[in-house]
């Protein structure tokens, strides 16, 4: 009789629970028996390279970063496409040349549109 395949998962979960619990229990015992805990305001303070931390960590970034990142990404990808284009430039048929020009034009049009929308100026909106 073969055991149910799910038995292994249950054994695995058991081991996965006990394995981290043993060191934690040992550490707890060690604290009780030998090492008195010494928490403190300084010791528990947020670590910031030894400098006192100022303000909250949960702050919101402005979504303008996101716009810049998107536009950058598009032209980053474009640059990758331009490299093989430049390498194969002399051997290209006219159709391929026009195709890549259309591709470039589409992106440039997008840039002009973004520019016209004011995405490139760092205005507080």
């Amino acid at each position: 009789m073969t055991p149910d395949p799910y038995v292994f998962i249950i054994i695995f979960i058991g081991v996965a629970l006990v394995f981290p619990l043993i060191p934690l229990a040992l550490a707890w015992l060690w604290r009780r028996v030998f090492q008195p805990p010494k928490p403190g305001a300084e010791k528990n303070a947020t670590y910031e390279c030894g400098v006192e931390s100022i303000g909250e960590a949960q702050i919101q970034f402005r979504s303008q970063y996101y716009l810049y990142a998107i536009i950058f990404l598009i032209f980053d990808v474009e640059a990758i496409f331009l490299v093989p284009f430049a390498v194969a430039f002399t051997g290209l048929p006219v159709g391929a040349f026009i195709a890549i020009l259309v591709f470039l034009l589409l992106l440039i049009e997008g840039l002009v549109w973004a520019w016209g929308k004011g995405c490139l100026s760092w205005a507080a909106r």
Partner: protein, 207 residues
Amino acid sequence: MSEIDEGLRAELQRQGVWVTSMQELYNWGRKNSIWPLQFGLACCAIEMIATAASRYDIARFGGEVFRPSPRQADLMIVAGTVTKKMAPQIVRLYNQMPDPKYVISMGACAISGGPFKQGYNVLKGIDRYIPVDVYIPGCPPRPEALLHAFMELQRKIDSQKLTGATKAEHLTAAQPSEFPVPAFGEHDLEPPANPNVFQPPKVEREG
């Protein structure tokens, strides 16, 4: 945790039986995995880097795991000139290290201000604010000297007791784990030294 009879232990070892005490096991583990806090202050730090690199190789002693966070560090190597601007940060970093923690004061600057002792902006020794375990003289000390200090520290850790009246200081509830961080005063750090840590040697002159 009573002491093991050395003769009995040697006899057992000959029979292939190793015995040890919890204290020995604990200290053996601690002394061979001292994790230093990764920070350097001035020229001495270059020597500390050389000690960690392949030629001097502090990894032979278990000390190569330089930690970028005090929460994971056992040892603070104060390597270099401590300016008064920097002193509060160092004390705060020391406070944020978990017990047991040790300090090596590396070089003339960390001991006493060294060549810059007359400078208005230089702290005259980090032991004014935090307890130091090993001092290394030199400007800068050679990597061998830092290794020597490391071995001295291992010797100290090895001799620390877990129980009894002479047990290690960090195991007593009375020994503080934090020391007051000095503040910037008008002319100097305030207080200029922590009297609980720093007792300047008394000069006694005759006549």
